[in-house]
Symmetry: C2
Subunit: 196 residues, 2 copies
């Protein structure tokens, strides 16, 4: 229950930082502005994040939350490829992707942000990959899981980046109109299933 409190502060700070970036741009405010908006002290900010960028980026970390919930609904002997497809459809919801996409768009404006965005992506990848690994058990060779997951994750991120390229020039478009996530996943998994 204590962790909830801590998480709340963290999220409040992150959210404030994120909104300020939207409003004034990354260099248009200082950490003091963030903590003022969220109602905390500058020192507390430092306890949670090491810099503005880290705070801003951390909003996109939609945790892979309830492992058991997903696994419960799946047959234990379902091929790993199908398990992964299910995970990608339920866990990486379009909501999470929209947030992530806006963040990636921000990172293009403010280059110092990019490393931290990548950091968040990395953490999400790890959590999801561990989840997948626990389902795989020893049905597959050891390289299989990281290989497969790396492929899917890389593909999704590459595609997400692609949607940023298409509507370049103007302000970024917060909604990824240019990407139909579900059918993209189908195409991806079709390639993975039958070969490139």
């Amino acid at each position: 229950m204590r962790d909830l409190k801590r998480e709340a502060t963290r999220e409040a700070l992150a959210k404030a930082a994120f909104e300020l970036t939207r409003e004034r741009g990354l260099s248009g405010f200082v950490t003091a502005d963030v903590v003022e908006r969220a109602g905390y002290s500058r020192r507390t900010f430092g306890n949670h994040f090491s810099c503005k960028e880290e705070a801003v980026a951390s909003v996109a970390f939609g945790g892979v939350d309830d492992a058991s919930a997903i696994l419960a609904g799946l047959p234990a002997d379902l091929p790993l490829l199908d398990v992964l497809l299910a995970v990608m459809k339920t866990q990486f919801t379009t909501d999470a992707l929209v947030r992530m996409r806006e963040l990636m768009a921000m990172a293009r404006r403010y280059p110092t942000l990019e490393p931290h965005v990548l950091g968040v992506q990395q953490r999400m990848r790890h959590t999801a990959q561990e989840l997948l690994g626990s389902v795989a058990g020893d049905r597959y060779p050891t390289v299989y899981v990281p290989l497969l997951f790396g492929a899917v994750y890389g593909a999704v991120m590459a595609a997400l980046e692609g949607t940023l390229d298409v509507d370049l020039g103007g302000e970024y478009d917060p909604s990824p109109a240019s990407m139909d996530y579900s059918s993209f996943l189908d195409i991806t998994f079709d390639y993975l299933r039958h070969g490139f």
Copy 2:
């Protein structure tokens, strides 16, 4: 020739920062130490990097250097999958991977380093992907290239991370003894060719 000079300074600074990290740890030195070792001013350091971490991470950026050299040796109508395999074997040499691996090991010790390591990986990915895209032309559907490349790159990185996990506990081992890069690529591409 001017760019060479600039690159030289940049590399000198990066190298100094990297070595200092090896010797004293990331928090065991300040930017002043770096510039002193490399023979530049503190202000110049700021012209090239925005922080210590960025400098340290940038050593692993082994540029994808001579596109024409690789393409010249390949038939123009070679399937993209084989082109990519060739690129991965020639461009991502084991040397570059060893450096990258040491950096990734450092990132485990010093978490603030990780985002910047990922930043370098991202830049490398972009350069290589553009190279691949120029070869692909319009032989394939638009999603094909980013999808394929994302898959391969993700897989390689996941595998590289895997070699860090196996010999955990002691100091890290600078040589990736636990990974045979070439045969790993073969396995990877076999999966990609015929499906998972």
